[in-house]
Symmetry: C2
Subunit: 496 residues, 2 copies
């Protein structure tokens, strides 16, 4: 057996352990609320993590990588070797103890964070967050792939992206977003979203969300949809992709966030069979992944054409609220732009500001410019600067996201990158298929899906994000597409 | 660190892997109906199994066992060493390939069995069942702990029990059960169970079943109750015990089967902390485990006193059916004795015959006296002999139980042993606390639970079943208690 085949087999097992970790995590999120058993789970999680660390960093893997480098490889094997080498290089820099500590701490922190958020009391979370920040700094120091710690962490989720590269993209957008929000809010013809504040039965919402993703070709034979507090998507095998839905937030969050998770899931479901059980059976980067979820959620799922098709069904499900309410007003309502506290509920314009806030805070936290204990205050101050409002409590402020508890520093910026990628990719798709919006009116969504599958999904992580965006759109990431998209859309909705 | 401490640590990890396996299995049963992903799951399952096999059979474990044997050990460490030695001896006899084959096959077989049962077509299941039987025979041959293959398999679930020992217990009971069934069915005052055939809302049933186990002190902080097709209980950590409930069967199966699973769960929940994460953190044997579930399900859960307390609640939940229906008639209805096709729905008298049927068939199958292809016919013929009726199709016949698909040959007899253990233990509890039934009338169930916790649950598997029954009741397993219990109960219910 040659070296690349052997590596493929070793990493098939490593992937299996990763999938098992994902199940441990999925189960914790979906089923293990307030459990005494969280300690047992944290030990199981760290055990799998330790084992995988040992496997990835084994001498044998190192030896096989050197051998494989001498072979002439096809495109897939070449990409596989690139990713395996990356994993090997990263993991070998991390001491086993650190790896285990991080895994155990994140399970325990999930519980503390949940409690802190329920009670809106940052102090419950503070101690363990300090530990998490220390562990992440230590991890970044050991990995040392970039001169600054934060870039090293960002690179884990968006390979080869740095703080500077992202700052150069975000900084010019920031004032434009702030201006656009102001401009829209000064319109004399603002949408009225009071219709969304009425009561919508939660079971019916869930049922509708399932109906929609079914129509969007979510394959329930290789996936599930469960109810949960904080929605997410995870793969438990190459053909076991699970999304989660929340029904408790203001309508139609259940629908839009389910479409969002669908966007992640359909990416994973579309990866070609050849890549199953390999290290390439995942998205190109977190930013590219997010481009798919945000494209379906917003560009498609909040478009007038999408609702032209679906609104009659919604009117049937909620006649008391919607029967006599015009589609046009409904479409405007779900696209209202207004600063709000919760990132995942934010509209397309303010969303980026939520991310920029986190991006800047994380950078300062990693550089030691701010301390964990200062986070609530820093958060609120910055929130007012960017969004003009101050969170009334920690639950609506610094405690709203699960990410810090999971130690995912460097992850947030990929969300906004996702928006930018999405607009650029969608613009290209529209160029080739100008009739896409007409499709949606007829409940026809497979043309866009085929395009994405053909150009993005099938390849898994064969191509790096930067190469992929160039392959698909012919140019590097360019935020103009996003800016044009939101300006055009919102100027029209706000009748300016 | 001395040898026993080191073994304890090694087996803490092994237990963790077992718990992870249990999660993989729980998730498959609860969440993965008809999944394309079953193949991925089977690979994950066999990977964990392989790993644990390697760990248990490592040279280091063998060396530590020898060292530990020289130490003077306290009772717990002594029992731990006994169980570790047993595991080591068993596993070292099994080739890794066999272990992996069995694990993979059982996941795939679960899918085929489910499909076969849905379509009531044994031929869908036949091929994989043949493979399973061959694998189990091979396993028994390798283990070779008893002269006959079936005893070797029985011993895995009921340590040191043999085919002969069980046959000597079951054989004299068999004609007595057949006679009792005839006698009861010839009564001129048989219970009328038509009330159970009315419609009972499934959600309300589930709600009531949760209410009952809560009252019985099931700790929802360290456990869950989920809906499923085939109810079972599993532990995913020392403090993560999950039961499953089915609502689809004739009323009040949802209630009685939930109490049954509760009986298993409360056993696991009651094991003392000292034994957590050790090999002793489980029941003494499957028979003893089943004694707890059957005791709560039948001796308590089908008693007049239990229903004296609960019936008014049920009348409130189902007024159309029960408001004007007398408690006495309801109690007689849920205790009707009549031959039926599905084991888990069988009454306390015919239940043993269902087990004896399986016990005899499994023995012949393992000895090669019958072939897999003959199973449906053999099943039906024997069913008529023992229960006087013939299953109308395979789903109601040979396909009804999940056990064959999981390769659990030798497991069934422990169910009936459980009934026998239960009657004997309960008789002792009653001797010490004659007021127990009066407790139930008042909704007071903690005295029985305390007795069981004190005498059985806390010890986990420190004591072997045979020693435990002697400790608790002062004598060996004695089926007279069971026979007296059912005769007294049913003669009264049938007014003979």
């Amino acid at each position: 057996m040659n070296a690349i085949k052997e590596l493929r087999e070793i990493f098939a097992e490593i992937m299996r352990f990763n999938y098992i970790s994902s199940l441990l995590n999925w189960d914790q999120e979906v089923n293990m609320m307030n459990y005494k058993s969280v300690k047992g789970r944290s030990k199981q999680m760290s055990l799998i993590r330790k084992l995988n660390h040992q496997r990835i960093t084994s001498e044998k893997v190192g030896k096989l990588i050197k051998e494989a480098e001498k072979l002439t490889l096809n495109e897939i094997d070449n990409a596989m070797l690139r990713e395996i080498t990356r994993e090997f290089n990263l993991e070998t820099k991390l001491p086993e103890k650190l790896v285990v500590d991080i895994a155990e701490t994140s399970v325990l922190a999930a519980k503390d964070w949940r409690e802190a958020r329920e009670k809106s009391d940052f102090s419950i979370f503070e101690n363990i967050l300090e530990k998490i920040v220390e562990l992440q700094k230590e991890k970044a120091l050991k990995l040392d792939t970039h001169p600054d710690l934060y870039s090293t962490l960002i690179d884990l989720y968006e390979p080869s992206a740095t703080y500077e590269w992202i700052a150069n993209i975000f900084n010019p957008i920031k004032p434009k977003l702030i201006d656009l929000v102001k401009k829209l809010n000064s319109s004399s013809d603002r949408p009225d979203d009071s219709i969304l504040k009425k009561h919508y039965d939660e079971d019916k919402q869930f049922e509708l969300s399932s109906k929609i993703i079914k129509k969007l070709n979510f394959d329930f034979g290789m996936g599930r949809q469960d109810k949960v507090v904080h929605p997410f998507t995870t793969s438990l095998a190459s053909m076991d992709v699970r999304i989660t839905t929340r029904t408790s937030e203001p309508f139609p969050d259940c629908i839009t966030s389910t479409i969002h998770e669908y966007g992640h899931a359909i990416y994973e479901m579309g990866i070609k069979k050849e890549l199953h059980d390999t290290i390439l059976c995942t998205g190109a980067s977190m930013g590219i992944h997010e481009s798919q979820s945000r494209m379906w959620e917003n560009i498609v799922g909040r478009s007038k054409e999408f609702w032209t098709y679906w609104y009659p069904t919604f009117q049937k499900y909620f006649p008391d609220n919607l029967k006599n309410y015009p589609l046009d007003d409904f479409h405007r309502a779900i696209n209202i732009v207004q600063p709000s506290f919760i990132r995942v509920n934010a509209d397309e314009v303010t969303y980026g500001l939520h991310i920029i806030l986190r991006f800047e805070i994380e950078k300062d936290l990693m550089e030691g410019k701010i301390q964990v204990s200062e986070l609530p205050e820093v958060w609120n101050t910055k929130f007012e600067e960017l969004l003009g409002i101050v969170p009334p409590n920690d639950a609506m402020g610094v405690l709203q996201d699960v990410h810090f508890s999971a130690g995912l520093f460097g992850y947030f910026p990929t969300y906004f990158l996702g928006n930018l990628y999405a607009a650029q990719i969608y613009s290209k798709a529209l160029e080739q298929m100008p009739n896409l919006p007409e499709d949606y009116k007829k409940g026809e969504f497979s043309n866009l899906l085929s395009y994405l599958k053909e150009n993005i999904h099938q390849y898994g992580s064969i191509y790096r994000a930067k190469d992929l965006i160039r392959r698909v759109t012919g140019e590097d990431l360019n935020s103009d597409y996003f800016l044009k998209y939101i300006e055009k859309k919102y100027i029209s909705i706000y009748r300016l």
